[in-house]
């Protein structure tokens, strides 16, 4: 099942909905109205198994709202925790696995399908880049989950763009703070959540990302150094995660590139879906378009150049 958060054109508040081929079926008959949109989705996640039969009945009989009639919201508009893996892809380099490590991203930076990434007026970073990532959507409270039991603590998967300000090369701005990834609007999430039962193997999902139609990220999640099961075990050994929390699994940096004013971005993960985003920059800065090919890039074009 694909579960979206949807704001009907009728003006009613945010409501979880199930994605069907030609639109959305509102789950209003089975979920109570909530003042906070995040709570609408997190309470559905917590009660999903007990509600599953009712949800399936609503999907079979309910009216289908065409995609154009209303607005998709980020499926998790304000998680308690947004965590992101540091590194975590092999990127064709022969070396031992690096230790799994994560940082915390600003939960108020979340935007959703069709929304706009707004670059800050802050000029210390030299560039802003996209990092398209698989996102794990948690079912909590989850603490001390063994790797083999990861499915017990996972509701589904979504897409996360870990937008990142860079200090030097592709190093994140902010030295030891990771703040380069926490500017407002730097956490696009969506387009919706695919429940865990519909993802045959989270370590075999193709991730693609385009800027103005040009392909940037183009990788498979089978290249992760530490997979979903290990990530869930590791994070829940440290902290309790809540329903609707998100862990982004890191990106393959071979396809990094700048995000800049006026661009239209497209992001697709196999078995999940596709979303678009726009970019605005009040300062109208410009960078070279295309995949980042600086000396610290792991793109094959740079690696081969260094070898030659």
């Amino acid at each position: 099942m694909k579960v979206a958060l949807f704001e009907p054109a009728t003006g009613a508040g945010a409501v979880p909905a199930v994605v069907v081929p030609d639109g959305l079926v509102s789950l209003r008959p089975v979920v109570a109205e909530q003042r906070e949109p995040q709570l609408a989705m997190s309470s559905l996640i917590s009660r999903f198994e007990e509600l599953r039969a009712d949800i399936e009945a609503v999907v079979a009989s309910g009216p289908v709202v065409p995609f154009g009639e209303g607005r998709l919201l980020p499926p998790l508009p304000r998680p308690t925790n947004v965590l992101c893996c540091i590194g975590n892809y092999w990127e064709h380099v022969e070396r031992p696995a690096r230790p799994l490590n994560l940082f915390i991203k600003n939960s108020d930076a979340v935007i959703g399908p069709g929304d706009e990434i707004v670059l800050p007026r802050f000029t210390e970073p030299w560039i802003f880049m996209h990092e398209a990532e698989l996102g794990i959507v948690m079912k909590g409270p989850a603490k001390d989950v063994a790797a083999d039991d990861w499915r017990d603590a996972v509701f589904g998967f979504t897409g996360v763009v870990d937008v990142s300000a860079r200090g030097v090369g592709r190093a994140t701005w902010g030295a030891v703070s990771w703040m380069g990834k926490s500017f407002d609007t730097f956490a696009p999430i969506g387009p919706w959540i695919t429940t865990v039962d519909e993802i045959p193997d989270p370590q075999d999902l193709h991730v693609r990302f385009w800027s103005n139609g040009d392909l940037r990220h183009d990788y498979n999640t089978n290249d992760m150094e530490h997979g979903v099961a290990e990530i869930v075990e590791h994070v829940t050994s440290v902290m309790t995660l809540q329903s609707g929390d998100v862990i982004a699994c890191g990106t393959n940096h071979e396809g990094l590139g700048a995000v800049q004013h006026g661009e239209r971005l497209e992001f697709e993960i196999e078995h999940i879906g596709r979303m678009s985003l726009t970019v605005s920059d009040p300062l109208r800065r410009t960078w070279e378009r295309g995949v980042y090919l600086g000396s610290d890039s792991t793109n094959a074009a740079v690696v081969n150049r260094a070898v030659a």
Partner: protein, 310 residues
């Protein structure tokens, strides 16, 4: 005025958390808001404080005050909210000190009298305390200039920032301020919020942290004025802060030491009160209590120094 989140001390796991006004007679429940949780009610109170604040004083002396002994205090944290902590970064070789901020998971916060439980944290070789004033964002503006930081502050309390370290020079893991400060129970916060209007700075504000009765960290807020402003300006330049968000400012570079099984940490913040946390280590580790974290603990060349790329 003192605002707390509490539950009945005798209640079990299903205890009802409530927003309350701490008075000399006990804690008076504040039920002015139609909120789903005590944290939600606190956020409403902060948003509407200009209208609601005067009505709170009517609650003082009300007969339904719950005796202090019958109350367990919880972290006075709004919901939703985020916790922004400050750290120093010492650039080498210049030696200049720069303030930075990092995010601490809100789930790490515990209340006065709570227990810090040290997790295994594979590879962690020490757990340390740091202390400072925590200011609650009042939400009157989006970004704040350093010199005008008091205009955005709703109120004050104390915070202990517990951190797992790979060694005394590096935050767990990889020398980064990543998850080592966000373990469950690593953020004693409280005991309650004193709104800015009730916080009298005229005689200066002292802050002390002691461990098992021995003083370890000491600072005065009047000496921190520039630093609090710098941290608030930096945090609000990067991200929108919302009513109830917490900005915890490191009070002093000196005196950060290990926390370990059986320790009792105690913070005294003038005009606010006393925050106590005990420490339990199910893994039974021990460290030399006299060791102190190096002044440049978060230096840019701390060991090890991986590339800051994610």
């Amino acid at each position: 005025m003192r605002l707390a989140i509490f539950e009945h001390a005798t209640a079990g796991d299903d205890a009802q958390q409530q927003l309350g006004l701490v008075t000399s007679d006990g804690v008076v429940p504040v039920d002015l808001f139609d909120a789903r949780s005590a944290g939600g009610a606190l956020r409403e109170l902060i948003v509407h404080f200009d209208e609601v604040g005067p009505r709170l004083s009517e609650l003082v002396g009300r007969s339904d005050a719950i005796a202090h002994d019958d109350v367990r205090l919880l972290a006075p944290l709004a919901s939703p909210s985020k916790i922004v902590c400050s750290l120093r970064v010492t650039a080498k070789p210049e030696g200049t000190v720069q303030r930075h901020v990092f995010l601490k998971a809100p789930g790490s916060a515990i209340g006065d009298g709570g227990e810090v439980v040290l997790p295994e944290l594979d590879g962690a070789e020490a757990f340390t305390h740091n202390v400072g004033p925590a200011v609650f964002w009042g939400g009157r503006c989006r970004a704040a200039a350093a010199a005008e930081w008091r205009q955005v502050v709703f109120g004050y309390t104390a915070m202990i920032d517990i951190t797992g370290r790979t060694d005394v020079l590096s935050r767990w893991k990889l020398g980064k301020s990543a998850l080592g400060s966000s373990c469950d129970t690593f953020g004693p916060l409280g005991p309650w919020i004193v709104p800015a209007g009730s916080f009298d700075e005229s005689a200066g504000i002292g802050l002390e942290l002691s461990c098992n009765g021995r003083l370890r960290q000491k600072a005065r807020l009047e000496d921190l004025d520039d630093q609090i402003g710098t941290v608030i300006e930096l945090a609000s330049t990067i991200m929108t802060l919302h009513p109830g968000d917490v900005v915890a400012v490191e009070a002093t570079a000196e005196g950060q030491g290990p926390v370990q099984d059986g320790d009792e940490l105690q913070v005294e913040l003038d005009q606010v009160g006393r925050l106590v946390a005990t420490v339990r280590d199910p893994y039974g580790r021990s460290w030399d209590p006299e060791v102190r974290v190096a002044f440049d603990a978060d230096s840019t060349d701390g060991q090890p120094a991986p590339p800051a790329t994610a």
